[in-house]
Amino acid sequence: MKKVFSLALGILAVCGILWFGVYHLSQSQGPVTTKNTLNLYNWGDYIDPQLITKFEKQTGYHVQYETFDSNEAMFTKIKQGGTPYDLAVPSDYMIEKMRKANLLLPIDRKKLTNFKYLSADFLNKSFDPKNRYSIPYFWGTLGIIYNDQQVKASEVQHWNDLWNPKWKGQLMLVDSARDIMGLTLISQGHSVNTTNLAEMEAAQRKLDQLSGNVKAIVADEIKLYMIQNEAPIAVTWSGEASEMLAANSHLHYVVPSEGSNLWFDNMVIPKTAKNKKAAYAFMNFMLEPENAAKNAEYVGYATPNEAAVKLLPAAVRNDKQFYPANSTIDKLEVYQDLGQTKVEQYNDLFLKFKMFRQ
């Protein structure tokens, strides 16, 4: 008994010392108050860390960077309102959902002096008309990535090419209901935002035919697998693709010309914001062409900042894989928030496809 007691005491003492150490460390970085802190809620590895340091030096604000790995997780956390996030970076359909749930504060354009640098192509989209609540951060597409050692460029220019029996067991898909259902809908000439159940079910039946070609339906691991030549073809997002291309020179990315998804990650001020001044300072800082260009080069996604694009190296700027031609951009569709029932129908149909085995 005595031994157990001293052991328990020892553990408590160690905990105490560790807690004291942590407390001391956080104190040495200066007192943290809502006045001088910006609580930034963003995707993991989605900003050049040097920019945060630069922002802190320039403005004197202290940045608390917290990350999330899915829009839904972020939504839940902001809805519960435990942490006073001043700025978040959700994707398009989630902005619409948050807007409907009254979780966003309107953005005062007058305080946003650098708004003028944004390209009109990426403003005023259906999820946030007139950009009352959100400011574009990055944008991108959904497309096909292939390895030129096994696949000729001419063989995978369109979504329908994925159904070619030649690719039996060769294809990797992202585990995302809207994206995979969406590309099938486009291949059938329908909108990615259709709420017509007959069209959705037809898409699922067409997807079932794809089942034999599918090697795996995975998430972030696609990056690893494509780089290691595990599969010759995959469907993924442009941002992920740019990282894969950087690591394996045999990979190429195609946005099918018949259309695809256009997605956005936009900056918003959630209702939980305590320091709006810092949030505006940060948005203006990130819209500064020089900073936006630096960030785009670091993250590898496409920037909506027209002035920043001009600052990028010509090889990046003219890369049709990530800055597609205007004729293609015109055909891209943004996801709309279709409401709970339809979202579930999409996911149920996708689940059916995942369970389908020939």
Binding site: G169, D175, A177, Q340, E344, N347, L351
Partner: protein
């Protein structure tokens, strides 16, 4: 004395109430509400009438059964010979060691081993068989899941075998039983409690594996865990997710009941046995 004892029970009771009973009640409550928070049985109706969910349930059960069978087949002989070796503590440590490593790390290590350019395929190419598709198959899923669960099967069986009185084996031999008869009539029946504990420890977690189904199975293997993840993280229909959770819990209770009942009967037959594995 009695008072101090009940005082020491307080942390345990608080823990159980907060982290076992309360979550279970919450799951049950969630499963009986829809997204608007109204009371409904709709989730259960959806579950019961959807061929997708029923098929998924059968899938989960089937794969959990396979994993349990594979681990049991490997574990029993392993535990048996382990109990006969010298340096048992060292061998045991080696078996327990992998459980200290994070599940995800182990899964990623298997990706490295089984992928097209992985070690196993390099070996297959070397001996002239040529590279094979290993990842994203039933085989690789069973292999990795069994690998992860195996220590939880070996340990209870090993404990049961070690507690077996060697005198019983000697007696059986003296009475003329062959090795095989000694094993089937004496050793195995007396260590069945360990086997049952092992089955509980392996079958129940196997029902709801979901990281492995995606990382190693490439979502070609779909279990109920996949559906729960989807309902909580993508569709945000917590009610439906909880309903599937309740189904899993019920399956677990059935499994517990099946493996506990016979133990009692055995205790009646052998009232003198004091300790159980």
């Amino acid at each position: 004395m009695k008072k101090t004892r009940s005082f020491f029970m307080v942390p345990y009771l608080v823990w159980i109430a907060l982290f076992v009973i309360a979550p279970l009640i919450l799951i049950l409550y969630q499963s009986l509400t829809n997204n608007q928070g109204q009371f409904t049985l709709q989730n259960y109706v959806t579950y019961g009438t959807s061929w997708t969910y029923l098929k998924m349930t059968i899938n989960s059960f089937w794969y959990a059964l396979l994993i349990t069978a594979v681990t049991l087949l490997i574990s029993y002989p392993t535990a048996y010979f382990l109990s006969k070796t010298k340096r048992q503590q060292l061998w045991l440590l080696l078996i327990i060691l992998p459980t200290w490593i994070n599940l995800l790390l182990k899964a990623y290590a298997f990706i490295g081993l089984l992928s097209r350019s992985g070690t196993v395929n390099q070996f297959l190419t070397f001996i002239g068989v040529g590279p094979k598709q290993l990842l994203f198959t039933d085989f690789s899923f069973l292999l990795v899941a069994s690998y992860i669960e195996i220590p939880f099967m070996i340990l209870p069986i090993y404990n049961a075998i070690v507690q077996l009185d060697p005198a019983l084996i000697n007696a059986s031999r003296d009475l003329g039983a062959t090795n095989l008869q000694t094993f089937t009539k004496v050793v195995f029946p007396l260590t069945i409690s360990g086997v049952k504990a092992g089955i509980q420890a392996v079958f129940i977690p196997s029902l709801s594996l979901f990281m492995i189904t995606r990382l190693i199975g490439g979502n070609r293997v779909i279990t109920l865990g996949t559906a729960i993840e989807e309902h909580f993280l993508t569709t945000m229909n917590w009610g439906m997710g909880s309903t599937i959770g309740v189904v899993l819990i019920v399956m677990m209770f059935i499994m517990m009941a099946l493996t506990n009942d016979r133990k009692k009967k055995r205790q009646e037959v052998l009232p003198n046995e004091k300790s159980e594995g």
